[in-house]
Symmetry: none
Subunit: 227 residues, 4 copies
Amino acid sequence: MTSADLPAPTQPPVKRARRADAERNRAAIIEAAGTVFAEQGGTVDVREIARRSGVGMGTLYRHFPTKDDLLATVLEREFTSWLTAAHQAAEATEDPWEALTGFFEQTLAHQAGNRALVESYTATGGPPRVCAEYRDAFIDELRTRCLNAGLLRAGVTTADLVLLSASLSQVVQATGDSHPGQWRRLLRISLDGLRARNTEPLPEPEPEPEPTLHGEGDGGGDASAGD
Amino acid sequence: MTSADLPAPTQPPVKRARRADAERNRAAIIEAAGTVFAEQGGTVDVREIARRSGVGMGTLYRHFPTKDDLLATVLEREFTSWLTAAHQAAEATEDPWEALTGFFEQTLAHQAGNRALVESYTATGGPPRVCAEYRDAFIDELRTRCLNAGLLRAGVTTADLVLLSASLSQVVQATGDSHPGQWRRLLRISLDGLRARNTEPLPEPEPEPEPTLHGEGDGGGDASAGD
Amino acid sequence: MTSADLPAPTQPPVKRARRADAERNRAAIIEAAGTVFAEQGGTVDVREIARRSGVGMGTLYRHFPTKDDLLATVLEREFTSWLTAAHQAAEATEDPWEALTGFFEQTLAHQAGNRALVESYTATGGPPRVCAEYRDAFIDELRTRCLNAGLLRAGVTTADLVLLSASLSQVVQATGDSHPGQWRRLLRISLDGLRARNTEPLPEPEPEPEPTLHGEGDGGGDASAGD
Amino acid sequence: MTSADLPAPTQPPVKRARRADAERNRAAIIEAAGTVFAEQGGTVDVREIARRSGVGMGTLYRHFPTKDDLLATVLEREFTSWLTAAHQAAEATEDPWEALTGFFEQTLAHQAGNRALVESYTATGGPPRVCAEYRDAFIDELRTRCLNAGLLRAGVTTADLVLLSASLSQVVQATGDSHPGQWRRLLRISLDGLRARNTEPLPEPEPEPEPTLHGEGDGGGDASAGD
DNA sequence: CATGAATGAGGGTTCATTCAT
DNA sequence: AATGAATGAACCCTCATTCAT
């Protein structure tokens, strides 16, 4: 993933001299911000992040013109890395249902204890569009595999699955300290509700009010839990 | 302007009047706070509440020494009123499963759009102990009825149901504006996962880590979603 | 100027209790701000003003929601008090030309050393509309008196006089420390150029570009130096 | 990317190249700064200047140890070039009064729209000494020509003329957008006040207070508007 | 020497809480 | 007891200047 993987024998390693340092700072900021946002949520003092990154305020603001930009960046990275890992895990799993289960397990384990991440589900904006698209595509894949294998309840949409994961994430968050592991029970229950043996039709989703902002809504594969 | 202007010849003169006045103020504050917290969440400016209650800051702080105290009081009241209504509805319903379903429906309908209430699930603290106990007792009743009727999955605990309701509440909140009604699908899925036909055993809850703060947890009927 | 001047025997002196204090603070803020703005211009730290007023930041911002509001208020007050004094002096002066001269003298003496005031001529916005109108009306009066007495050069507009005063104010400012009194010479020169014995016609003012904001422009009595 | 890539066999090798490069940078900085300062005044972000010059911050600060130094340099250059042009124009004009008039016209036309230049009249410091001397000498020349031709009012000093030009410059600035051309009227008025037909003596300049900083001021040929 | 990233002291503004009236 | 003005510690962000590369 880093350019270290690519041999660059004939190129002058110039011009990236300062960039290296800056990149390290940027990384440090993102990492510190990730930690701090996860621990304390999106309302932390920016100074705290600067302090923990070991950089000055100016550096922080050079890299991220706004606190919200920083938060968005951090969330996007966490989203992406989570999705990547989840995707790989799912592809490595033969059994479709096991893949679905594993996805949820991984998701919840990953998001437990990340306050900012969970906050992002409630906050306006939600995950960045790109992530959401990627996520939806991936989840849709899982869904299709399970459907084709006759394992998934008829009528379950991608949006349902997305919402379910978001919903359970918040449970993980809420129970994280006092009842760790409790969420596995809920997950099992929900997944059992998704099994094909549940033949009752699901209630039709009401038509969306005004598609003012979110230009989705094809009725079948809709998603986007977080906005 | 004060009720002191009104002579109250036959009654113990001043004290009562004050009391009444104070009580009215307290009620006004709680009502306004309820509205405002529901609309804008727990981060609103206290002034907004004072303004809408028609009382001064001093009065507000006389009744509630802290913003958090006010919030806790408001939440407790909303919790209680919700539980009372839910309880009555449940008692009026013959069919146990219908009672359970109705409870969830009512809960989610009630909590949709109450930002502070939903926030309270994530925030440390959660609902006050008294409420939690009441709630747990009530839900346990629902659970037992369904169990006895052979409708509820074996091994489902009160805590599971509590968590489920909290979890779905957050979904309602998050999807409220963009996908209203979407939550009914999730609810159906979850409830189907709770049906007795699901015979797989649920994962055992791990033993609690350190009962540092919340001294509950009898192992079987434990609950308390919000801490 | 204070309500102490008005006897209020039959009214309850209630309800202004806190107001008195607040009013004193407000006055203190305005006075301190006046001083500080005059000394250092409009860029001073708000904290400095708070310090010199003896109030906290919150108090300052309670009275003036924005630094600019404070500045505007201060400027308006200074404008008004200056105009009032100038008006009275002019009315007390028989000779029209002497009235005009006195007005300029008073203006310049008053504005010498007030950085913020002079800055306001250059800054966008200028004096508040009301002040400008009052000022223009007053200057127009002076102008008419001189014209009727056959003392003022034909074709001189109110706007000319307004501009002249603004212009000389800046000279006073610029020369204040090093060449005090120097401005009197310029003033004399300018006034002599305004005398009726100068019979050459003045260049026509070009038509205004776009009357986007300032709804003036009757061609004859136009004014508004500061925008 | 540097000129070091170009071999310069027949010349003293490196040093000159550096010098040339540095000189080009310096010129670029000054030019960009001139534009930016003129457009936005002396408070612009130094980065803007660096960006427009195409040099890094370090280079900029190597050439000008302080933002103020850069500003001073820019102003000095603009002053000088303006004076040079004005001087030439004046020398090419036969009629002394026309020369004087032309000087003012040119000055005002030149300084209209140069925010920093006009700001410099109000700011402490003013134009650098050298410029002031040159300017004073030149204006004194104009003055003498007019005096000798019997066109200029008796007692008018160089300082008066300097101040007048500064004063009118600010008017131009202030009215530039809303009332363009308005300043010509004021200029005419002032010049008419300078004509020899005005025989009233001008008020004596008060003796200077303390020649703390600016050791000029012989009473007759004094000048220096900007401090 | 050039570069541009880093620094950090402010600057304007908000808001939970206190306190004089 | 009620009022609402006062408080001041934070908060987010900017920008002149320095410094490692």
